[in-house]
């Protein structure tokens, strides 16, 4: 019985959201506020129980003297909460500084080791048919490398470098980059449509299957 009730609640809420297709209406706005409210509440519960409890409270409650270093994140975290009020906001500067310091360091290391170097290495692959594994593969490698260089020059040289040595090359590669980016954005758009259609299909399966029982 409660199962049916639950399914009906879910179906009604889904239809309330779909009413937006007709026009913006109070049912839709109510549904949106319910969504935001429940996600805020759920996030609070998860953060407190999944992060703060095992990572902070557990060590401190277990053995406060042995785990004394954990008082530092506790202090910094509480100081961060002072950011809620403008007058005392400066107390939280140190906490933010901590976050930014760690974040910046990890971002630098990650971007360098995880994105920059490997992607540059990826472009540095063989363009010889022999080692690339066939003519088409080698051609694709060449196109990949040229496309990457073109994209970079499009972003970095849209301003400046109009005259001087090499400007003709820059202009050509910028144009190449522009066309490569057009194709890229077309592919991104096509993929995006595919994603949204998949989400729609899943909801329709729910409405037709779980709710109305028309499909098995």
């Amino acid at each position: 019985m409660s199962e049916v009730f639950a399914v009906w609640i879910a179906a009604i809420l889904t239809l309330m959201v779909y009413s937006y297709l007709l026009a913006d209406n109070p049912l839709y706005r109510l549904a949106q506020h319910l969504f935001v409210g429940s996600s805020v509440g759920y996030a609070v519960v998860v953060v407190v129980h999944n992060v703060l409890r095992p990572w902070l409270f557990a060590p401190l409650l277990e053995d406060a003297t042995a785990n004394w270093p954990y008082f530092l994140p506790l202090l910094l975290g509480l100081l961060l909460l002072t950011k809620a009020r403008g007058s005392s906001a400066w107390l939280g500067n140190s906490s933010l500084a901590f976050l930014f310091g760690v974040g910046a360091a990890l971002a630098i290391g990650g971007a360098l080791l995880g994105s920059f170097l490997p992607q540059i290495q990826a472009s540095w692959v063989s363009v010889l048919p022999g080692s690339a594994g066939g003519g088409p593969a080698a051609a694709n490698n060449i196109l990949l490398a040229l496309g990457t260089i073109g994209t970079l020059s499009y972003f970095y040289f849209t301003m400046g470098v109009r005259k001087g040595p090499g400007s003709g090359f820059v202009r050509v590669s910028s144009t190449v980059g522009r066309w490569v980016l057009l194709i890229t954005f077309g592919a991104i758009f096509g993929n995006r449509v595919m994603a949204y259609v998949s989400l729609l299909i899943e909801r329709i399966y729910f409405l037709l299957g779980d709710w109305l029982g028309l499909v098995g």
Partner: protein, 219 residues
Amino acid sequence: MRRIGRAVSVGLRRSLPMAMAMAIGSLMLLDFFFDEAHINALGGFFLESTVIIVAFALLLGLLNVLTVHLRRIIKREGGWIYSIALVSIALIVIIAGIPGPESAGVTWIFDHIQFPLQAATFSLLAFFVATAAYRGLRVRSLEALAFVLTAVIVLIGQVPVGRYLGEFVPALKDWILNVPSTAGVRGIIIGVALGTIATGVRVLMGFDRPYTSERDSTQ
């Protein structure tokens, strides 16, 4: 006396945070690239602390949403009735979640209220993207032709219908996704990585101080 007080105040507001960011950031950078027992231990501890402090930051943001809507209810500002719904359901979830996120009440609300609402909201986008495609994908120029053609090939090539139309369709879709699209995104990734490294170095060297407010940074 006053001068000492002022110096301490400035120190707490600006210098201490900056020193902290630079010192801890440098240590984490060393931890990232080098493998040494003491650095590893310190780095591990700072990682855990970061997770905890970010959790506090998330809490701050979430509670801020609630206070904004509470204020709207108290002052009877526009749409305050909806704010009542928002705050009530949030409080219900928080109270029901005192035992934990796997408690019955929280899971029921999540499965039958939050999940359908969020899934339906994002599935609406399919309709909007279709009307946008109808209205916006007009071939006004050669560039538009390239964009529209690519989108159409990807759309048809991703589904089995494409193969039905011809073997070349999925092959073309694969080529588009693997060569030009990858080249473009690779360029974007490299550019973004460079920007990230530059910004990170600026923060670590103290040129950028995003953790101070406007008032503090001008002193």
